[in-house]
Symmetry: C2
Subunit: 481 residues, 2 copies
Amino acid sequence: ERRPPHRARRHVPGTVTQPHPLTNRSTNEQLRTYEQGVRAAFDQIVPTLKQISALHCEPDFTQRAQQLAQRELGFELPNGILDDAWIAGLDLRRLYAWSLFETYRRMADDFFARDPLRGRETTAFDEFLQSCGFHLMDITPCADGRLAHAISYVLRLPIGAVRRKSYAGTLFDVEETVEKWVEVEHQRFREGRPNTADTSTRYLKVVMYHFSSLDPEHQGCAAHGSDDGLAARAGLERLHHFRQAIENSFCCGASVALLLIGLDTDTDAIRVHLPDERGEMDLNQSVDAQALYDQTHNLTPEAARQGILEAVCAAAPDTADEGMVRLVARLVENNLSQIEYVRTLQGGGYPDAGHAERFMAVGIGFEEIQLRNLTYFAYLHTVEEGAPDLDVGCRIFDGLNVSHGLPIPVVVRFDYHGRVPGARERAVERARRLDRALADRFRVRVQQGLLHRMLVVRDCDAGSGLEVVSTSVDPQPAGGH
Amino acid sequence: ERRPPHRARRHVPGTVTQPHPLTNRSTNEQLRTYEQGVRAAFDQIVPTLKQISALHCEPDFTQRAQQLAQRELGFELPNGILDDAWIAGLDLRRLYAWSLFETYRRMADDFFARDPLRGRETTAFDEFLQSCGFHLMDITPCADGRLAHAISYVLRLPIGAVRRKSYAGTLFDVEETVEKWVEVEHQRFREGRPNTADTSTRYLKVVMYHFSSLDPEHQGCAAHGSDDGLAARAGLERLHHFRQAIENSFCCGASVALLLIGLDTDTDAIRVHLPDERGEMDLNQSVDAQALYDQTHNLTPEAARQGILEAVCAAAPDTADEGMVRLVARLVENNLSQIEYVRTLQGGGYPDAGHAERFMAVGIGFEEIQLRNLTYFAYLHTVEEGAPDLDVGCRIFDGLNVSHGLPIPVVVRFDYHGRVPGARERAVERARRLDRALADRFRVRVQQGLLHRMLVVRDCDAGSGLEVVSTSVDPQPAGGH
Ligand SMILES: [Zn+2]
Ligand SMILES: [Zn+2]
Ligand SMILES: [Zn+2]
Ligand SMILES: [Zn+2]
């Protein structure tokens, strides 16, 4: 019910009877199983609460509600809220937020415990990447929820082998990225990881902007007013700024490699702009995975792979380096599986062209969120800096949730390095401070029970799951403040 | 008038007839000339505005006021404010803030143009520091304005040769310092600066806490409730956290050296707690520069120096390293000049034991502020994170200024690296965002004209002066927002 209606027109109808020779069908099945499982868990919440609501005048209500919750959601609800229903009425907003947070928590813990997308199997890609001349691939997709699956699904890369750092409109923080570059160089110098500093590989910074082939004027990148050209140019400019910052700040020919990728959020097909030896990219020149899917569909795997390589070469400037061409050919080949994944969805494509996020993710972290359109991200340290992103998020959820009487669920999260003494305490304090500022900015919604928060932190050195600091849905301690 | 009354009792009266054999009298003279010049410029503002105010019913008021301002302050006032006085009354609050900002701006530009404290003459100290086994000295004094002169005056070090990063209560940011450590290591690896990475020198992190010998219960560190023991322990704990963070995060025996210094803000005498080989320090064990000043006062320079070295050795744990002992002996010797500087002040000591700051400095930067009790610092990126420090600052200035009808002058400042494309624009945007948040938090004072701001940025790569972005005292453009 919360989804926008299916779109009638499909970009490439009926091309999926025969799989493409280079797509990985078993991986597609695994990815689909994972995605459907997670979505089903979230989508069960509303129908289950409706049933529970219908029960609420029955005698043994609490018991029956718990049985139902256990059966449909896989967990019990807080007894307190159910027990008080006879006198206070059933607080369905709190139950909804509580259930959503619990579902998210279980999803996250499962992700860190099981590695369901096999993101930790990094050796093969690490080696391939280095053979192409790069020691780190650092990707900034737009923070739009429709790109949350960029690494694991769209590009089919193990998340453990790349750095993902999303920014609204791909406008990544140059200073922060320079710091990361220094950290990586230091590691190469000091520890020889991922390779020694004298190996002539480069740090590869990738920007992934996005557009919509079905509804280009409305469903493109909101941060750039759905202007595809602007989105691409902004990403490219930021890449150039980063390269210049490195070259100006460090001597001895320090430099980085750059790459610009566009994503069609309706088909998940990528188009890649190849750089010349100086990192210059032509925004009118790209290799298009969607077209290549069709062009190489009836070939043998070898011939299809050769066709892709030739197309990438043709789209590359004369001075493009050979490793970059090989890497891009691999990304395009990986993307074919995702193109097929989308084409073989029930209905022949994504049912949700627009926003359909289930919760807001605010703070730093969220590595476990690898599914499209599940989450609205606002990566930030403070409300003061991130207010525009938070305001956009609230407006989106006013439409998705508040207009239907549902609260906006916000997960406030800060990851920390457990190796650093005091880091956990500082992350907790940071989460609490952010929460106070958030509750202050969205005071009215909070007072109406229409905005709930769960505060979590995570030790990213330990590789363990989430630690819940507090939530606004749990009963507040008597006399607390 | 804004100064608290002189204190009657002086710690060590009458010991300054004869200079100490190791003090540098000509440097003391230069430092005193600089300090008096800067203070006089600030202290001229109120008397001059009083005179101007008295003139304000005269005919040619604007002209006469400008002559007076030029003569007494060295600059003219904005004509607009003077011209409007006949009808709107003379806006003395705005004139005060305007004059203060102009005085600060001139002081800062002079500092960067002339290097009056010779902070860029770093070679000798760099070499000495490395000979002691350290490649960088990174000092965190408390952000209290009474420690703003810690580097140039108290320790007599060239500011260009050390890193100063102040924090309220010396509670420095461990993560930020780890990043700095990585940056320094990277520079050693990549550029051999200040020495190559295979040289077995260490990064030296110093904390300088403070206390008051004259009024220990009230004029100690406010962040620790004037509890000296607590202030020292908190600094020591932060140092240990930093060392542990480095050791846990990096392999191959990465480590750092630590040092804890206490400052008596009444006499500027330091006491130094020497670390053993593991960086452990005994808070009850220290070498006291004040006592050494007296004990070595009648000796020859050689004998005095030997006496200091012996005292430092005696205060050092058995396993303390020899380079650390030599460094501390040097710091103590340097400090003797400052002890004499304070003892030879008119009145035999500082007239201001408590707060006497002229303005608040908010943001990141302020390298040029090297004078005691001139400035209340709130180093921060956002009001959200720095609110407690800002609130303390406003309370202090409510007493110093607002209670006398004077506005609180706030300099909002962000330094940036001009080598990094877009960095200036981001610094400006940061200053504007902070200013909006500040004006929002202190709304009432702003509306009453009792809190004024000047926004400045500075390219720290260029070594040039300040760039003024805007001020709240300049006439706002008609129809502006
Ligand atoms: Zn976008
Ligand atoms: Zn981490
Ligand atoms: Zn203090
Ligand atoms: Zn700088």
